[in-house]
């Protein structure tokens, strides 16, 4: 059994059913259009649920039906002996087959980075582009692995200025201004 496939299959199945239910609220037909806005989304949601079932069933029996060029890739890739592309892929495959995902430093970095990005979208209108960006970029650089304070500060300021020059000056975009002060 490929557990990740079965689980993601069930999640997709639930999502498909949710879309079907949502689409019930769309008017089925109008005077000129006998199909209406409901038909297409419902058709897709049915397809979505069928594909989810396929993923659950094949996942349960441990089958992966690969599509398209993956099969061709396999015939070529053994030539890439020692190649990073081929090497990277096998490592990823092994990671995917691991029974339970380990919650390590990588995952902490990931969640922290996502949280920082989300915070950025709230800070931008509040503090304005320059302050919000410099702060956020500094945090991002630290999360991504740079710990020397001077370099973090310089890097954050440099990236803020470069993006400002590119978007604000060259492309003449209106950057968010502060509403707090």
């Amino acid at each position: 059994m490929i557990r990740s496939n079965v689980v993601s299959g069930f999640v997709c199945l639930g999502f498909g059913a949710y879309v079907w239910w949502l689409a019930q609220a769309v008017p089925p037909m109008t005077l000129t259009d006998n199909l209406g806005g409901r038909f297409f989304p419902q058709l897709i949601s049915i397809g979505f649920m069928i594909a989810s079932l396929g993923l659950i069933i094949t996942g349960f029996f441990g089958i992966e039906i690969s599509g398209g060029t993956v099969a061709q890739d396999k015939s070529v890739q053994p030539r890439a002996e020692g190649g990073d592309a081929a090497g990277g892929r096998t490592v990823e495959q092994k990671a995917a087959e691991a029974p339970a995902p380990r919650f390590g430093a990588g995952e902490v970095r990931l969640l922290a980075f996502v949280a920082t990005m989300l915070a950025y979208t709230f800070l931008l209108p509040l503090l304005g582009y320059v302050v919000a960006s410099a702060l956020t970029f500094a945090v991002m650089i630290v999360i991504a692995g740079e710990r020397r304070p001077l370099r973090v500060a310089l890097g954050a300021v440099a990236i803020t200025m470069m993006l400002y020059a590119l978007f604000g000056v060259v492309f003449n975009m209106r950057l968010p201004v502060a509403s707090l002060y």
Partner: protein
């Protein structure tokens, strides 16, 4: 259909300093995008797209085409220097260019990569100009039913895209189609799936999804992976000699043909073409034992092929309005944003634009040759940017690009949402490319299906009684089913 006046006007348009400047800028940005790990043509084009809004459509599209071509070359640069292709299309270039660079001939390797790329790009443009017109002339007979069929055919290419599990490919495709249905219903004008948010009334822009699932997701993958930046060894800048260039001319021509054909076929992109061309070059070579140890033919073949896929992919894109790859899908989205409808009519309605694109592509190859040979030694330094700064920079660019589209913070959060979705999809082997294809084709499929059914008074047989529509649908079904059958047959054979 061929109008001399339009051709002349297009040529004059393209050689203006304004257009040439953005073409050169596009090529340079493309080379940088190709060199940066994880940034491919689709990401690069999505990131510059919001900023081209004020430009003349032809100039903007030429800049994007330049970026696409430059990116195919840039991927090869890092393959040669640090044994890591900056883009998937450079993966096959690795085998011979890296050994060549290690032997102290980095200049030769990069020079050859540049020349082979430019040759593949230039020749494929000529082939594009020759083949796209007749195809478009034929497609002029299409009505709603045929366009629905073409859309379905475009989707069927999902089956030939690389997916580890066809059900995941199907789910990604259908998810893309569902995202398209968000917004105002094109027929009734009623809001659909907008959850009461006014920001969703116009639907979700392709760009939002693309910047999310490509650029932000890539940043997240890299963040989780961690690790340091690689170092480049010192190298000589001597370029290849004339005799060496001449010796690989047959290989470059053959690889261009392969790249063109693979690019025009839906689903397969530069990386597949490069692998096939590499294998063919080895098969035809007089010195096959040199392959893998710094063979010049082994360097030239994949690079000519991956650049030629661009011209190839433009054939169905311009003539039928179906994209053959992720980058082509972004170009299609860009054309739609500019109010252009790629498809047969574009040749009669916008002949100047189409010819401008042809000239722009051809000139782009020349620009790549010059810029590539001049700048490569310095551009290679881009890979020395330490990862923390690079990833932060890409995240910042993604956010600013999202903000440029509508100016709404809601859209920036959507980019983040799609970034997380793209990350989860990557981790679970759900391919993002089919979702983007579906996103681009979804509107065409739904509106033409409904339009055809209005025309036929709700009679579904309209799709199979019209000969062209029936044929295209049959081909679509075949191209969807064939890869599955093939894998089943192969499994049988392996079991027997």
């Amino acid at each position: 259909m061929i109008e001399v006046a339009a051709i002349g006007e297009a040529f004059l348009n393209v050689i203006t300093p304004y257009t040439l400047f953005f073409l050169v800028l596009g090529v340079v940005l493309g080379i940088v995008a190709g060199i940066l790990p994880g940034i491919n043509g689709a990401i690069g084009i999505s990131l510059i797209l919001p900023f081209t809004f004020g430009m003349d459509p032809a100039t903007a599209l030429i800049m994007m085409l330049g970026l696409w071509g430059g990116q195919n070359f840039g991927g090869g640069v890092t393959a040669a220097l640090i044994h890591t292709p900056g883009a998937a299309s450079g993966a096959a270039t690795l085998f011979d260019s890296y050994p060549l660079a290690q032997q102290g001939h980095a200049g030769k390797a990069l020079g050859l990569i540049c020349i082979a790329s430019a040759v593949g790009w230039f020749l494929s443009t000529i082939l594009l100009a020759v083949t796209a017109l007749p195809l478009a002339a034929f497609a002029l007979r299409f009505s709603a039913a045929e366009y629905f069929a073409v859309g379905i055919f475009g989707l069927s290419m999902v089956a030939s895209l690389a997916t580890k599990n066809i059900f995941k490919g199907a789910l990604a495709t259908l998810l893309g189609l569902l995202v398209v249905t968000i917004g105002t219903d094109p027929f009734s004008g009623m809001p659909r799936f907008t959850f009461g948010r006014f920001e969703l009334m116009n639907g979700i822009s392709f760009l939002i999804v693309m910047i999310g699932v490509f650029a932000v997701a890539e940043v997240l993958v890299q963040i989780q992976k961690g690790g340091a930046t690689e170092k480049i060894a010192a190298y000589s800048r001597a370029l290849p000699s004339w005799a060496e260039i001449r010796s690989v001319v047959p290989t470059m021509l053959r690889s261009t043909g392969i790249g063109m054909a693979v690019g025009a076929a839906p689903g397969a992109g530069g990386s597949i073409a490069a692998f096939i061309a590499y294998n063919e070059a080895k098969r035809f070579s007089k010195k096959p034992d040199e392959f893998g140890r710094g063979s010049l033919e082994g360097v030239a073949a994949p690079e000519s092929a991956n650049n030629a896929t661009e011209g190839g992919a433009m054939v169905p894109l311009l003539a039928l309005g179906i994209p053959g790859s992720g980058a082509a899908a972004v170009i299609l989205a860009a054309m739609i944003l500019y109010g252009l409808r790629p498809g047969p009519q574009i040749f009669t309605q916008e002949p100047v634009l189409v010819y401008s694109l042809f000239f722009g592509l051809a000139l782009g190859a020349v620009v790549l040759l010059i810029v590539g040979l001049l700048l490569t030694p310095w551009l290679a330094m881009v890979v020395r940017i330490p990862k923390p700064y690079l990833l932060t920079g890409i995240a910042g660019v993604s956010f600013m690009a999202a903000l440029a589209i509508t100016g709404l913070m809601f859209d920036v959060r959507l980019v983040l949402l799609f970034g997380v979705l793209g990350y989860i999809m990557r981790k679970l082997d759900f391919p993002p490319a089919p979702m983007i294809l579906a996103l681009v084709l979804g509107f065409m499929i739904e509106t033409n299906m409904r339009r055809a059914l209005i025309l036929s008074d709700g009679d579904w047989s309209i799709f199979v009684t019209r000969p062209i529509s029936a044929t295209i649908l049959a081909v679509a079904v075949l191209s969807f089913v064939y890869p599955m059958l093939r894998s089943v047959i192969r499994a049988r054979r392996a079991a027997a």
